[in-house]
Amino acid sequence: MEHPILFISIILEKLGLPIPHGPVGHGLIEQLTAPYMTYTWFTMIFLVVVGKLTLGNLEMVPGKGQNFWEILIGGMDDFFVENMGRELTDKLFPMIATFALYIAVANLIGLIPGFMSPTSSINTTLALTIIVWITHHIIGIRANGLAYVKHFLGPMPVLIPLMLPIELISNFARLLSLSIRLFGNIMAKETLLGILFMLAGAYFAPLPIMVLGVLVSLVQAMVFVLLTVVYFTQSNEHAH
């Protein structure tokens, strides 16, 4: 999709780096300077710098910044514990919380003119989903050993030839549905905003869509995290 103005791309172009005109270029540098890559790095730098600035010196009586993070991290911790138990949360909290923060910020920066959401590229969401998908199999194998295969064999031995393909297909469908839902929602938001800016940007036409965009961004981040938690819980428990 043609984006109106992307600040990082313009800065890089001024520095003499090649900027791909399509979604992905051919050379290595072109692939590294694709907009979704540069904005992924921007999101990462933003999260690290904000975290460093607000949590640089921890205090017993928290200030404004530390208070915000304590509520956010504490809320997420409670949510995960409620859904998948203390033990699994302690193991996986850094990963899932990072996903939550990254996806939420990545979705939201697309609302600022001149920025784009890295999650509006299928590459980013598919990468996140593959990590989740492989991790939930690793959790299953570590928790159940070889008995993890029973998850895919259905309730009765007679039904194995029928249930095995069905279970495998529905497991691979997780890979597809998790990535495409996040990508589709955010890409739709970005495209709609771009078109409305182009058509009637001077009359504030994109404003209602931006309000909806905030909602969609946060809800999609939450849904991604919730589904991750559900998958981890399911692969961790014993087969029925």
Partner: protein
């Protein structure tokens, strides 16, 4: 977070991906069938594996639908016990 919005997120997460999962299962089943027909068996078995894959894909879609409903029922029952 209030109790209401937590419930809302749960419902959104559980029911919001029914459509996508259903479609994804059908596409993967049929795609696997087409792949078997065209690449593995070199068009000798042409319509059959596609149809079998499609049938398995639809079955997998319904199965994931039932799984989602079962999961939601379990959560409701857990809440009733508390």
């Amino acid at each position: 977070m209030s109790k209401m919005s937590k419930e809302m997120i749960h419902l959104l997460g559980n029911y919001g991906h029914i459509g996508f999962t259903f479609v994804a299962a059908i596409f993967i089943g049929m795609g696997g069938g087409i792949l078997l027909d065209q690449k593995v068996f070199d068009d000798r078995t042409t319509p059959w594996f596609t149809f079998i894959g499609l049938a398995f894909g639809i079955a997998a879609g319904f199965k994931s639908l039932f799984d989602i409903i079962k999961q939601q029922n379990k959560e409701f029952n857990d809440k009733d016990k508390d």
